[in-house]
């Protein structure tokens, strides 16, 4: 039993290390990708092609003064970034990178991931409220409205996959795509999922909670140093999560010829990450009411229709 516990702890630690490295790489990749879209180079001076840039940034952020402004709600202000990071991190405990590489294979894995990632909204709201800053408050409100609304089409868009695989277990879902990935039977579902998930993770063009040009930095406007870095990292962790989930649910997870499963999995995830970055650096940002009506008037009916048709098809088959 103790050995099992130690192994579990080691696995958790490994996931933590993996996430940290991934996030560092994602931030670096985003800066590089955006730079190349914009006929620039991006970080070049620190390490080979700026490879160590993120390490410098991290050390600097840890060294920065950690300001707690005078009139904030100190406890909530303190907890919010931790909650944000933890909820982003928790999803990885059941995310399978290959049939073997998974911390804990849960039968309700999908439900669990959808559940813990939704916790983020709580932390954003807390940060916005506790900061005692109107920009932060607006950002907090926006994030609540946005994330809770997009939760619905998000769940509805993955339900057909669950029906087809007949399980909430992520490994089983991947196994069910042995013959053909679900994206081929559920193309609409995939697009719906990716859109809703991008909104869920506050990715542009849905990044209105921290819309820099409107709300300066939104909910994290008063955060500095290590607390800010938690928000910053959690955003990228979430981005990786939604892409990983998309790869598992629609792209056949780690399945692929020749290469080892983990590599296949990472290739698919990073491809989706690149798509998200591509979208972010191309499109303008939506307005809050347009965002909401887009969710309720377009995404939701489409998701419902998709759900209904998939269900009928499964029954009649």
């Amino acid at each position: 039993m103790i050995i099992g516990l130690i192994i579990l702890l080691l696995k958790i630690a490994a996931v933590l290390v993996f996430i940290s490295l991934t996030v560092l790489f994602l931030v670096y990749a985003e800066r590089k990708v955006s730079a190349h879209f914009q006929v620039r180079y991006g970080p070049m001076r620190v390490g080979w092609h700026g490879g160590l840039q993120m390490i410098a940034d991290t050390i600097k952020l840890l060294l920065k003064e950690d300001i707690t402004p005078k009139d904030v709600d100190k406890l909530v202000f303190f907890i919010a970034p931790i909650l944000c990071f933890v909820s982003a991190y928790l999803a990885y405990l059941t995310l399978p990178f290959s049939p073997q590489i998974v911390v804990k294979n849960l039968n309700i894995g999908l439900l669990y991931i959808l559940g813990v990632t939704s916790l983020t909204v709580l932390s954003l709201m807390m940060a916005g409220w506790a900061s005692n800053n109107k920009y932060a408050l607006l950002g907090g409100f926006r994030s609540v409205a946005q994330i809770i609304s997009y939760e619905i089409p998000l769940v509805l868009s993955v339900l057909p996959v669950v029906m087809m695989a007949g399980s909430l277990n992520l490994i089983t879902i991947v196994e069910a795509q042995k013959s053909l990935p679900f994206i081929l039977v559920q193309p609409l579902g995939f697009l719906l999922y990716l859109t809703a998930a991008a909104a869920e993770a506050n990715r542009a063009p849905f990044d209105i909670p921290e819309a820099e040009q409107e709300l300066v930095a939104g909910y994290n406007v008063e955060y500095s140093g290590i607390k800010f870095s938690m928000f910053f990292l959690a955003e990228y962790v979430n981005m990786f999560t939604i892409c990983a989930l998309a790869a598992i649910l629609f792209l056949g997870g780690w399945q692929g010829p020749i290469l080892p499963p983990v590599i296949w999995f990472l290739i698919k995830v990073y491809l989706l990450v690149f798509v998200l970055m591509w979208v972010r650096w191309t499109f303008p940002r939506l307005r809050i009411d347009q965002l909401m009506s887009f969710c309720w008037k377009i995404l939701l009916p489409l998701a419902l229709a998709n759900f209904l048709i998939s269900g009928l098809w499964l029954v009649l088959k």
């Binding site: 800066r31 730079a35 914009q38 006929v39 620039r40 180079y41 991006g42 970080p43 070049m44 001076r45 620190v46 700026g50 160590l52 840039q53 390490i55 410098a56 940034d57 991290t58 050390i59 600097k60 952020l61 060294l63 920065k64 003064e65 950690d66 300001i67 820099e212 300066v216 930095a217 994290n220 406007v221 008063e222 955060y223 500095s224 140093g225 800010f228």
Partner: protein
């Protein structure tokens, strides 16, 4: 910062401890120097050159400079333009909102001395250093983006000479 300073105060007292201190110093200084996030804040003409320096041809991002709109998350404030009597208290507030370690670059003659508005102007302040401490001065009206980059390199040199125990 505070915790780190406490720890290293003891380290320095130990014989041979200076070695550790210098290595951490150089690591920390390397990180600080290469990750100067600057405040998205411009006053006048120089701000346009600052934008140009961030854009494709000059690309401050190469040096690890990234802009943030919130002063809490920035390390560097580039005062680009004339400081006026009405603006001076706001600049002071912004500087106070920034988290330590923070640096200030006075960009352009106006921010250094008032520049063209040194004589006869009833509203311009004669240099931003009347309001906040300045680390690097970049002359020019406005300075070219190359000059701004040179100033940033000078600031990086300055940061690399810092020490955790004495600042």
């Amino acid at each position: 910062m505070d915790l780190a300073q406490d720890v290293f105060r003891y380290v320095e007292k130990m014989p041979g401890g200076n070695l550790i201190l210098t290595t951490t110093d150089s690591l920390f200084n390397w990180a600080k120097a290469n990750s100067l996030w600057y405040l998205l804040f411009g006053l006048k003409c120089c701000a346009i050159e600052m934008m140009a320096a961030g854009a494709s041809r000059y690309d401050l991002d190469r040096l690890g400079l990234m802009f943030r709109a919130s002063p809490r998350q920035t390390d560097l404030m580039i005062v680009a333009g004339t400081v006026t009597a009405k603006m001076a208290p706001r600049i002071r507030t912004l500087w106070e909102q920034m988290a330590e370690p923070r640096y200030v670059i006075a960009m352009g003659s106006c921010a250094i001395t008032g520049g063209a508005f040194f004589y006869d102007s009833y509203a311009a302040i004669k240099g931003v250093d009347e309001v906040i401490p300045v680390d690097v001065y970049i002359p020019g009206c406005p300075p070219r983006p190359e000059a701004l980059i040179e100033g940033i390199l000078k600031l990086q040199e300055k940061i690399k000479k810092e020490s955790l125990t004495k600042r």
